[in-house]
Symmetry: C2
Subunit: 244 residues, 2 copies
DNA sequence: GTTGGAACGATTGTGCACATTATTTCGGCG
DNA sequence: CGCCGAAATAATGTGCACAATCGTTCCAAC
């Protein structure tokens, strides 16, 4: 037993917390594309040294969640229409393989998980809770790939998802949700029927719809973002990292 | 207007060179699984500061090419049989999608590229050049995914490939090549005939064969590797590393 | 002879100070 | 009045020194 009553400030956990805070801020659209993330600013906000922030920014850049230009700092990437197409193409291609694998191992437990998730999505849509809708839309595809239990595939999909999340904030800042709940439900029904062909077909059209919807909105770029407000909920002043 | 002709002395290129040197050493099996990579050692070898090496190691760890344990440094990961299965499952799943997409856009130019590549593979096999055979075996799958022109997919496949390369050095240190040339040739023939089903079928069996072959060999772990010898061929040229 | 522990050596982690580079602003000139 | 340029400023990149931690070894006690 080791003593951790006072300060095992979880030197490593703090890094992970800051990393997730920034990643979530990007995923949830609180950090629009093009936002600059000065190291010194973040260091003050999170109450840690600049080198710590620097390491986290480099890690986020390696995960393609941030764009790191040599002497100009970190920015939230502004994906082009071509980038969007490639990300969705990769996602569609990956999900086709996932669905193929999934019909061979799907069980009632997974179907119930997906049904419950769809219920949550519908509830969020009815509440007009856009942030939650966007989050759940992505989580649906995460559930699909996680069901395979393959960390490689799960990690890749999460990477793609974090990139497409930024695109939503650029090209579709006002719309309700990015994935139509009905289309998700149709895929689940195809899975329930063990119909691979139909599931892949639905998935393919689903991504086409999403991509088409994005192309309708013009990109709106902002850069003057108040970082204090963005991270206010997570970076508590005073106490650096509360335990619980 | 900015002056971009000024000077790229090697500030950024040096990092990339060292990064590639280590990555290639892993890919080509010169660094067996479990090899330790002390920062100070690498810093002396490449003639750069330890902080530079540290940044590169962290980047390699983010790409899952190295394993970075908190206070114990960097090691070449020793994948388990489960890890192997997951990597090949991901690769198989990805390649099925790639082949599906590829038959819709394949042309004579790409077919010739693949034919030439197969000729190179056969030549290396006849020369009993194991290192080249392993390299070309991976390059075949790289050619397939690169033909789609999707950077997301290409990057993901390269990541998977760098992981499976380590597995080869662990589980099959003596055999000739990791991918049978004939199986690659059969996939190309299916592509030439625009037969998606057959191509996917061949690809699926191809990966199963590779994985089965790996399971035959027992893992052999070494850790006392002479880093000087490993990087002698790359770290010495004076163009990138002027310091003696 | 074995086992437990403490001290030592080696390696990684971190903060700080400084160099380098981009951006902005201000002043002079056309 | 507008434009160009240089200095000031701010942000990033880098090296160094020190602290923390892990593995090892040696010594003593049982």
């Amino acid at each position: 037993m080791v003593r951790k009553k006072k300060a095992p400030p979880s030197a490593l956990a703090r890094d992970a917390a800051i990393h997730e805070a920034i990643a979530h801020a990007i995923m949830e659209g609180r950090l629009p594309a093009g936002s600059r993330l000065p190291e010194h600013r973040l260091a003050d906000l999170f109450g840690v040294s600049r080198e710590r922030i620097r390491k986290i920014l480099h890690r986020l850049a390696a995960e393609r969640r941030l764009e790191l230009v040599p002497n100009r700092g970190a920015r939230v990437p502004s994906p082009s229409l071509d980038d969007i197409h490639r990300v969705y193409e990769a996602h569609r291609l990956l999900e086709a393989g996932v669905l193929t694998q999934l019909v061979e191992m799907i069980d009632d437990k997974l179907l119930k998980l997906l049904d419950d998730h769809l219920a949550g999505e519908r509830a969020a849509a009815e509440r007009n809770d856009r942030a939650e809708s966007v989050r759940l839309s992505g989580a649906f595809h995460v559930h699909l790939v996680d069901a395979l239990g393959n960390p490689e595939l799960s990690r890749f999909l999460r990477e793609l998802l974090s990139r497409s999340s930024v695109m939503v904030s650029v090209y579709e800042p006002a719309s309700q949700s990015i994935c139509a709940v009905d289309e998700h439900g149709a895929i689940v029904e195809a899975l329930r029927a063990r119909d691979v062909t139909r599931a892949i077909h639905l998935s393919r059209h689903h991504f086409q719809h999403v991509e088409q919807r994005l192309r309708l909105e013009p990109p709106s770029d902002e850069s003057g973002i108040d970082l204090d407000q963005v991270f206010q909920a997570r970076a508590k002043p005073g106490k650096t990292l509360p335990k619980s």
